[in-house]
Assembly symmetry: C2
Homo-oligomer: 150 residues x 2
DNA sequence: TGCATTTTGTTGCAAATGCAATAAAATTGT
DNA sequence: ACAATTTTATTGCATTTGCAACAAAATGCA
């Protein structure tokens, strides 16, 4: 069976590296763009779900979000009925830079898929989704402290 | 055009997270497995090339390799003809754990591709390779301090 | 209802990450 | 031959990352 992990790792690190460099211009430090776009797209999401969505450690997400809050990109609001959760919303400042993040991400996406036919782009999108669904099961399993047998 | 960046990011973070947890057993700290496998497979490689191969910052690679050396997994050897470079080789200890890393990576690869026909696995392997080649051009460009226009 | 478990959030620590700056050897161009 | 540039490696500093441990609210279950 073909080895695909390394290609995925290389692509992900290269893309992340590029984005981090390009978003310094907007005073976003490493990784913060990941959280900000998702909060803009899913206002009211809680940090636990966000960590799951992005696939980072809960505590890493907690701190990244705290920094976004400190720097005025997002705000936490208490929920009416649930005292435990804190809903996340972009501030006006956060919403203002959101389109720039989208634009950068779209550009990288186009670069990544340069030379691809529309059908090829659709094929890989579907295959990647299947891989992600396969692997997130193990991720949650291992993250919870379980041991994979192999 | 389909958006594929996020799926790739999710998959890469999930896989890396799983590996980091599973390799603690062999006293490898975060990310070290990436370097060790490549040194085992390419004995004599220098750290600059390794950073390029993995797509991490040169200084990050330098420190990861230094730690692998301190903990006895790899060794640096001077080159006969070139006083500047330091060739990297696995130690006996490094070579001993190499198969365990391979085994884990192979397992994750199988999990990732569960339910895939052989032809689908080949398709995605090729498409990913094309994406990686597309994106590494920009990565090197931006890493060198150039600015992308978009 | 009451108790155990799960969910959600936080902080302390140890470690990796990466930009900036420095240095020295090698290579290139004239 | 030699000066300018590129390649390779390193260290200082600020920052993110993530495991462990803790706390409190919510939920499940008997």
């Amino acid at each position: 069976m073909k080895e695909i992990l390394r290609e995925i790792g290389m692509i992900a690190r290269a893309l992340d590296s590029i984005s981090n460099i390009e978003f310094k211009e907007y005073d976003l430090t490493k990784g913060q763009y990941l959280y900000l776009v998702r909060i803009c797209e899913n206002p009211g999401i809680i940090q636990e779900k966000l960590a799951e969505m992005i696939k980072v450690d809960r505590t890493t997400a907690a701190r990244a979000i705290k920094n976004l809050e400190i720097h005025g990109f997002v705000e936490k609001r208490d929920d009416e009925h649930n005292k435990k959760i804190k809903k996340l919303f972009p501030t006006e400042k956060g919403n203002r830079i959101f389109p720039f993040i989208k634009r950068e991400n779209d550009h990288s996406n186009r670069v990544a898929l340069a030379g691809f036919a529309e059908s090829e782009a659709e094929t890989i999108a579907h295959l990647l989704q299947r891989i992600r669904k396969n692997i997130e099961v193990d991720w949650e399993f291992v993250k919870k402290g379980n041991k994979r047998e192999y």
